[in-house]
């Protein structure tokens, strides 16, 4: 399971989320206001809208399209309409860069 570089830490401000594409797949990488890092699947499980366009509040990402909400720590779908959880992925800070471990 390789660790892949997403971006330097300072390119992802606190309280923000960015899209990361690799090998034909896409993820959402989060840096919370409290400076924790998380990574989930990129697309909402409801209508395939990218969550990097969503609203990040604390540990919740809200899909911009139909207001589905997920917990970025667990991927759990918290509010209608999505019923399927997101997958979450390991993230680390390495030499000032954000990396995710993907298979």
């Amino acid at each position: 399971m390789p660790w892949i570089t997403v971006c330097p830490l300072d390119e992802l401000p606190r309280g923000s989320v960015r899209r990361f594409d690799h090998g034909g797949r896409t993820w959402a990488v989060y840096r919370t206001a409290t400076d924790e890092l998380f990574c989930t699947d990129g697309l909402c499980t409801h209508e395939a809208v990218h969550l990097a366009d969503g609203l990040l509040v604390d540990y919740e990402i809200e899909c911009p399209k139909h207001a589905g909400v997920f917990d970025i720590r667990t991927g759990e779908a918290l509010r209608l309409p999505p019923c399927v959880d997101l997958e979450t992925w390991p993230v680390r800070l390495h030499d000032g860069r954000i990396e995710i471990e993907i298979d």
């Binding site: 366009d53 911009p64 207001a67």
Partner: protein, 396 residues
């Protein structure tokens, strides 16, 4: 085991069934007048997704639910607690949910029946079947459905004219400054608009207006709003007034009968008596009915929210907009715009946003949370496109 019967398999009925099932209920019958599996209605007025088409099943696990398709309910016998089907069969219930939805209004003018309506997937298919490139379409009504359909038909290469009795588009639920920008976007794509236009008649191949204008039309669609489907409830002497009257827990005047979705006029704790007509409210009410029918406590606290997609613009509204309220505008990219509406104490009451999907979604999602928390944000901050409003979620 309590036996639940749900009349209607739209968003409200299906979410109620799923909610009951998730709570462990095992006797759940859903009656659908339509012969096909439950599907999402929002895509019907929008350009068909090239990958998925018009018909998208509602993505809910209904295993264990008895879904009876093509079953029209004809009457309710409240004393015997049965629902009578068009076939004469009687279905017993302990708790009944009416999720009968709404019906499109027909045009009252001569020839009004010539106009197509858009409510079901069959309706959508009938419209698309006649939507030949180069054909001339007249859409009566500049509401959300009318405008979405205008974009959909224009994309397919039709000449589209929208005829509206009122002086502007989207007069019921969308602030004027946003509606105007959206209409401008349509005009830039070649859609024609006639406002203040009264229909005289729908003729073969044309629509005639009261001022004598004759609009050639190969396809006429009436999108002039809906009426709640209350016939069953009224025939059963349930209290109705522009919808089946329910309390904030969705109970009708009969304690064994509940109503949810477009057919229900709900006593909302925040707004008073309202009949909502939106996808999210239908789903929220369905889920709530699933709980309150089981005897759990619960009130409809969800804020009304809806979206529309037209051309490259997204429109989203949360809360109930009111042109009389104090409002603050914020630019949202170009040509995006957010209108924040404040209540008399300065708290956020509603907002509407138009622009690119991502920023619009983020703005409205945030406002919804701010309204729920009763947040007060200074107008100068609301107006500042650079100001992050998230810190106000934590303020007391």
């Amino acid at each position: 085991m309590t036996r639940y019967v749900i009349v209607g398999a739209g968003e409200a009925g299906i979410r109620a069934a799923a909610s009951l099932r998730a709570a462990g209920e095992r006797e759940i019958v859903v009656l659908s007048a339509e012969p096909i599996a439950p599907y999402e209605r929002p895509p019907l007025s929008k350009p068909p997704d090239p990958d998925r088409g018009l018909l998208r099943p509602i993505g809910v696990d209904l295993s264990g639910v008895e879904l009876r398709l093509g079953c029209s309910a004809r009457a309710i016998d409240r004393r015997a607690r049965t629902v009578e089907l068009a076939t004469g069969e009687r279905i017993p219930y302990d708790r009944l949910l009416l999720a009968t939805g709404a019906k499109q209004r027909r045009l009252a003018c001569p020839g009004g029946d010539r106009a197509l309506l858009l409510r079901s997937s069959d309706d959508a298919r009938a419209i698309h079947a006649r939507a030949e490139p180069g054909a001339r379409a007249v859409i009566v009504g500049a509401g959300l459905i009318g405008l979405e359909l205008a974009a959909t038909l224009r994309v397919r290469g039709l000449e589209v004219c929208v005829v509206e009795l009122a002086a502007r588009a989207l007069g019921r639920a969308v602030p004027a400054e946003l509606a105007e920008r959206l209409v401008e976007r349509h005009r830039a794509e070649g859609v024609l608009f006639l406002f203040g236009a009264r229909l005289e008649a729908v003729e073969a191949g044309a629509v005639r207006l009261a001022d004598g204008t004759r609009l050639p039309a190969d396809l006429v669609v009436a999108a002039i709003g809906v009426e709640p489907a209350t016939e069953l409830a009224e025939a059963a002497d349930l209290a109705c007034a522009n919808g089946i009257l329910v309390d904030s827990s969705l109970r009708t005047s009969d304690p064994a009968i509940f109503a949810a979705g477009d057919c229900a006029a709900v006593d909302h704790p925040r707004y008073g008596r309202v009949r909502f007509e939106s996808w999210r409210m239908a789903g929220e009410q369905g889920r709530l009915a699933g709980r309150t029918m089981r005897g759990e406590a619960g009130e409809l606290t969800a804020l009304p929210w809806f979206w529309s997609d037209q051309w490259d613009l997204s429109l989203q509204v949360v809360g109930r907009c009111d042109p009389q309220r104090q409002a603050v505008l914020r630019a949202l990219g170009s040509p995006g715009l957010v209108r924040f509406e404040l209540d008399p104490t300065g708290g956020l009451a509603a907002a509407a946003a138009l622009g690119p999907a991502g920023p619009v979604g983020r703005a409205i999602r945030l406002v919804e949370r701010l309204i729920e928390r009763g947040a007060v944000v200074p107008p100068s901050t609301l107006a500042d496109p650079e100001a992050d409003l998230r810190p106000f979620l934590r303020a007391p």
